[in-house]
Symmetry: C2
Subunit: 561 residues, 2 copies
């Protein structure tokens, strides 16, 4: 079983992924009619984007002399002030980022882009930047959805450098006894899994951005993959890491566990570039699973699905993934299926539609769950048995592996749909949080209401739907997608209103500010509330220690405070 | 199944545990002869200890006025300069601590002991201490074996206060849905498990000090319990915690996981009192296991036992405990068994001694493993099957549950044996580390040699033996005990020489400075090497932020630097 997923082609400067790729809605005939019905629209409009040539960037503030200095450090080919380099390092991939890219509205491009080859480059670059009053924004996959990679053109600095790490992409060492791999921070998901898979291993980290995001970015933002329920978040996978900060290099000791004071690596993980540059990590890897099984279940309500996941998680045999869509997401998934109602059809032949309806599995409250188990056959059997038992106790109805195969095939594709929706003047974004089981269903309802209310306040109809993805013994994360027709001329205000309403709702209801997207620029206004004044002061003290000049990714995580 | 273990009685001021309790060697007739043979001794001598009345403490430096101020904060009965209070808060329970207690050599007693009732007490106390230039050493169970609770009588401060937390011992809240419990930091092991067990839950944290150690101490030192392989170390159990530092209160958000920047709780866990006082924590708890099974296995070598544990851990179904003794510890266990050779006798009736010997299970290289599995029957079965399979693949021979029962009965008793050995002029101590699987067997051999060489350099024969206790996917901890006849008049030098040799060996061979005992005063000389200069600077920056006057547990973790 190979997990490698590579595709070739140029990346879009204006959207998600490869130029050559989209999310074709032609063979998903139900989707637009469904949105039109839901939003009470009579037509689908078009919102074209500007062409590359039409984009005007603010001029680089870097002098030729400074550029020459950068080139002396990293080599001529690895420092650039060219438009394409600057443009493709100016924004992440949040909804507002995509809007601004499509409008050609680039306010904070880096003044230069530097590609580092090794730690030595980075050490010299940080010294050079300090001497020349330049800020440094580490750039990994550029897939941040919270404004984590947009440089700040602050007057405190004479220039902003985007430091691209993707040329540091080697697997340096694999320890087949301890099951660890030492890997450079600039490696992408497919490169990393490709290399490990060939040797018979996997990291098991598959965020939706997998095809483009990069190890250093995963670590800097406390990323979670789709299989985190079994494999853990990235912070669980890091045995040790190396960071180069303006005041020096830190390499945490790579041991399974320690009692040598505060756990420093947990301070560097999640530091979002504000303390220094993560250059490599020693990661806990696994043997490739021998078997894998991905299947669907229908539940009569979101609450019963949550119970099924909770009971499974509190029972020690943990499956790879239990992904539970709420009723609206279940409906949207159905509307997006290219083989319409495929799994419902299968059910029908098996049981008869009237029977299913009667049993409650086709009600408006019905929820789809995808259950994945993988590993050695005996382990998979034990884990699956327990999960299925918990699901059946909560009234689940097994619908086979067809829906599982569909999910597996499309699990990295949905970001492409955002571009299609933007082409047609739709607002679309996602947000996520985590909380304990006792608060989860209430929080879900509250967020949905807060988003839909905020959408309605601007005079349009919208839709917010969610799934429970990453589960723990004590709680789970919940991941929302929301779609609404754009309010012309007020696109930014419309989005910010929704984002603010949802975030305030999360903070009010015991959710965390972010479970795996990070803080970046967009969540920074709430970081004081999240960490408390004294907790925030502690992070600032660490920044002061490692980056006294404040040159590392200014404006992120802590905001401008 | 109740896990509560309470006993009544006064605590020894001079040794481990209850006055009324010892570790009787009379019904373990093989032990002294074995030690005499091993150490080539012709007689066992006696080293009596001083009586309470003979102990002279340096006078308290606290004025009546200051004592009155303390009493105003916590109440008359909760602040004391009485000899018994000061003596029982002056040292932990390391070998040197025990020696000094027995000699009546108390150099650093606190000037006063204060018992806090609540967070308010602590907040006021910290303010008062700051104003009056007093240092504060938080005191939980007092079972530190690394000098973590010995106050420092520094001239920078006018007095040293021991802050006893054991009156803050309530279970504040149990969330039966999320399986979490909010508990005050001063609760002892038996109090905590007693309360949770009555409600049908367990924390699953059983350090050898369980009967006396305290939640706040566990968290402050990154404690590991005997069942940590399944239940995790204390840092895995803490969902959130509260600390009162001189500059304010920090309450980390209690969520299953987060991406809101650095994980603050992992900076406070392991802070050993130098940043502030941990007052309460929200802990992840479990339902009481329905069944438990504890059994013995014999392996032909330490290496094959290590392989069996590693293969099990890397296979996803994790048992509760796999505790593997090295050949010498296996022999000592046998010599300590009250029913001599119980399990060997059972084997003999089953298989015949000649057969066992022929198969290699009675060779000098043979190793004993205790395997514990507990939980729901189906889970236990699955986990045990996998563990037993890995053991048998590595040539293990199952010897039934008798040895498991013995281990369970005596698992908190061994510290009492130390007092008996000290009564008879024996040096005895333990130390521990953790490393990755690839280095474990080499590290084990190197530590054993370093200890035995250091012992021999002082002209006596000693013995160092170990077990692998806490296992992880990527490695394990290793726990050494060493015994030797004391070198009269040079007891301290003898101990320090061994400790230095072992610690330097650990650092040279890729072990961590401590896996679960902590740093305290004794490991502080190596903390710079462990964390690196820049890592250490980061911890100091945290301390500067939370405790700018340096009044919290001075001299610990960071040393006097």
């Amino acid at each position: 079983m190979s997990r490698e997923q590579t595709e070739v082609g140029a990346a879009k400067w204006w959207g998600w992924g490869f130029e050559s790729k989209t999310y074709p809605l032609d063979d998903r005939p139900q989707f637009w009619p469904y949105l039109m019905r839901t939003f009470k629209l009579t037509e689908i409009t078009s919102c074209p984007r500007v062409e590359f040539d039409q984009v005007r960037l603010p001029p680089s503030r870097i002098s030729d002399r400074t550029l020459a200095g950068l080139k002396r450090i990293v080599g001529n080919e690895n420092a650039s002030t060219a438009k394409h380099d600057r443009l493709t390092h100016s924004l992440g991939r949040s909804y507002l980022d995509l809007l601004n890219l499509r409008w050609g509205n680039i306010r904070n491009p880096p003044d230069a882009v530097v590609y580092a080859k090794d730690e030595d480059d980075i050490q010299k670059l940080l010294k050079f930047a300090e001497t020349n009053r330049l800020s440094i924004t580490p750039f990994a996959g550029g897939s941040s959805v919270v404004g984590g990679v947009e440089p700040t053109r602050s007057r405190v600095f004479k220039g902003a450098i985007a430091l691209d790490l993707r040329r540091m992409n080697s697997v340096l060492d694999v320890d087949q006894v301890s099951l660890t791999a030492t890997i450079e921070a600039g490696i992408s998901g497919p490169e990393l899994e490709g290399d490990l898979n060939k040797r018979g291993f996997t990291l098991g980290h598959f965020p939706q951005s997998f095809q483009f995001s990069v190890l250093g970015g995963w670590i800097a933002t406390r990323s979670a993959g789709q299989y985190s329920t079994k494999y853990g978040k990235i912070e669980d996978m890091v045995e040790g890491l190396t960071m180069i900060a303006p005041t020096g290099r830190i390499e945490t000791k790579a041991v399974p566990a320690s009692a040598s004071g505060p756990e420093l690596k947990q301070l560097l993980i999640g530091s979002e570039g504000i303390l220094g540059v993560i250059t490599k990590a020693k990661l806990r890897i696994r043997r490739l699973p021998e078997v894998g099984r991905c299947e669907g279940l229908m539940l009569k309500s979101f609450g019963s699905g949550i119970n099924a996941i909770r009971e499974t998680m509190q029972n020690d045999l943990i499956p790879t993934m239990m992904r539970l869509s709420d009723p609206d997401e279940t409906r949207v998934s159905l509307m997006l299926s290219s083989e319409p109602h495929e799994f419902v059809e299968k059910l029908t032949t098996k049981l008869g539609m009237w029977m299913l309806a009667r049993l409650g599995y086709l009600s408006p409250q019905a929820c789809l769950m995808i259950l994945e188990t993988e590993g050695k056959p005996a382990v998979v059997k034990a884990e699956r048995d327990e999960a299925i038992r918990a699901c059946k106790r909560n009234g689940a109805f097994a619908i086979g592996s067809g829906v599982g195969r569909t999910w597996l095939r499309e699990r990295f594709e949905l970001p492409y749909l955002r571009d299609v929706l933007l082409d047609h003047c739709m607002l679309v974004d996602t947000l996520e949080t985590a909380t304990t089981w006792d608060k989860l269903e209430t929080l879900h309802g509250a967020i949905k209401e807060s988003i839909e209310t905020a959408i309605a306040e601007m005079g349009v109809r919208g839709l917010a739907f969610a799934h429970v993805s990453h589960a723990y013994r004590d709680g789970a994360s919940i991941y929302f997608t929301f779609i609404a027709p754009q309010v012309k001329g007020k696109e930014v205000e419309q989005y910010l209103r929704i984002k603010r309403a949802a975030t305030e709702c999360i903070m009010r209801n015991g959710g965390t500010l972010s479970h795996h997207h990070g803080i970046g620029k967009d969540h920074a206004p709430w970081i004081r509330e999240e960490l408390g004044a004294n907790g925030l002061a502690l992070v600032k003290a660490m920044k002061e220690q490692l980056d006294p000049k404040g040159m590392m990714n200014p404006g992120k995580l802590l905001g401008s405070t």
